[in-house]
Symmetry: D2
Subunit: 111 residues, 4 copies
């Protein structure tokens, strides 16, 4: 199972339900941001240290898995509707970041 | 190149820059939500119809690719730090959705 | 009742429950973004035109009121914890915008 | 200067620029979420403790003020377009919260 398989499955899922007209990039970007809001909410009252062990709490673990999945599904669906190869875009970006932030120099403005 | 390869590359990237201490799930969820905010902003004044042809505008296309990539990178990094298999989580979720929303019945509350 | 009254009431509310330690700017920014995610989700499948009449649907109206309130409460609380006069900051910003986007010229990059 | 004054000023600002057609609730909710994303990003790499003193850094202080203002402006504009009395909605919500979370009992699920 690859990201492409997942994109195809989501496309068939939407087609079988006639949801295509709802799945515009604008609407999917909103859906993505709603799901990221739910994911963020799971960590909002935890300290950064507590967040590191979030997955050892059974209930929180289940919620985190569910929200990570929702975020991935909408991201993959959005990229598919836009005709974007998500993995290629991600790779191109990390290559730019590797040039932009050479290792071993310190003082980066953003981790 | 797979999602696992991307996760490994991001891990090495963070390690080489000693960014590990910043990359807690709490912080990465915030970074993810910041990037999704930037992606959403690209579509905010477009109609849903205009958003469908966003990629034919050269400048907008480049910004969309960049933001989609940023969202993917933080999502993959967050899942990796949490020890989550993102593709497996996404597949489990779409299977639940297929049972939850059987096709051909109409009247779904949420596309 | 003013925004200052609301800030005071939220402060007393948090103090009476010993929530002060949770209410750091970082955590409150996350809580704010979670609530905005819920607000956004209410409009995600509506067309822009449908969103204009959202308040005539009784159930949607109640959800919108609830989420707008949550966003306001976390925004006011965040500003209070940071010692920011929210109204003054808002006024200063709209004055900058009035200079930045003079009326009657068209071609603005951002509405 | 009150929240109502601010709403009126934003209405006149939008009218003078013919931005009314862009200012649907759907679009404004997206704009709000984009601004909250920028606000969140300012705190993402800070510890909760560091976020408490964010305003003593001159550059960060200026960015925080700017983003808080943007969030307020879009929130006030969104409420105005929807015909919502934001302060009344906020007060109604804190009253519900006061009943829902009585003080001095501990064990609240959400601060």
């Amino acid at each position: 199972m690859t990201l492409d398989d997942l994109a195809r499955r989501l496309r068939e899922f939407a087609d079988a339900r006639d949801w295509g007209e709802y799945h515009t990039p604008k609407n999917l970007a909103m859906a993505l941001s709603g799901e990221v809001g739910e994911l963020t909410a799971l960590f909002q009252w935890l300290t950064p240290e507590e967040s590191l062990t979030a997955m050892s709490d059974e209930r929180l673990r289940s919620e985190v898995l569910d929200e990570l999945a929702d975020v991935l599904l909408y991201l993959v669906r959005l990229a598919d509707v836009l005709g974007v190869d998500l993995l290629a875009a991600g790779n191109a970006k990390i290559e730019r970041n590797e040039r932009r932030f050479p290792p071993g120099r310190g003082g980066y403005s953003s981790p």
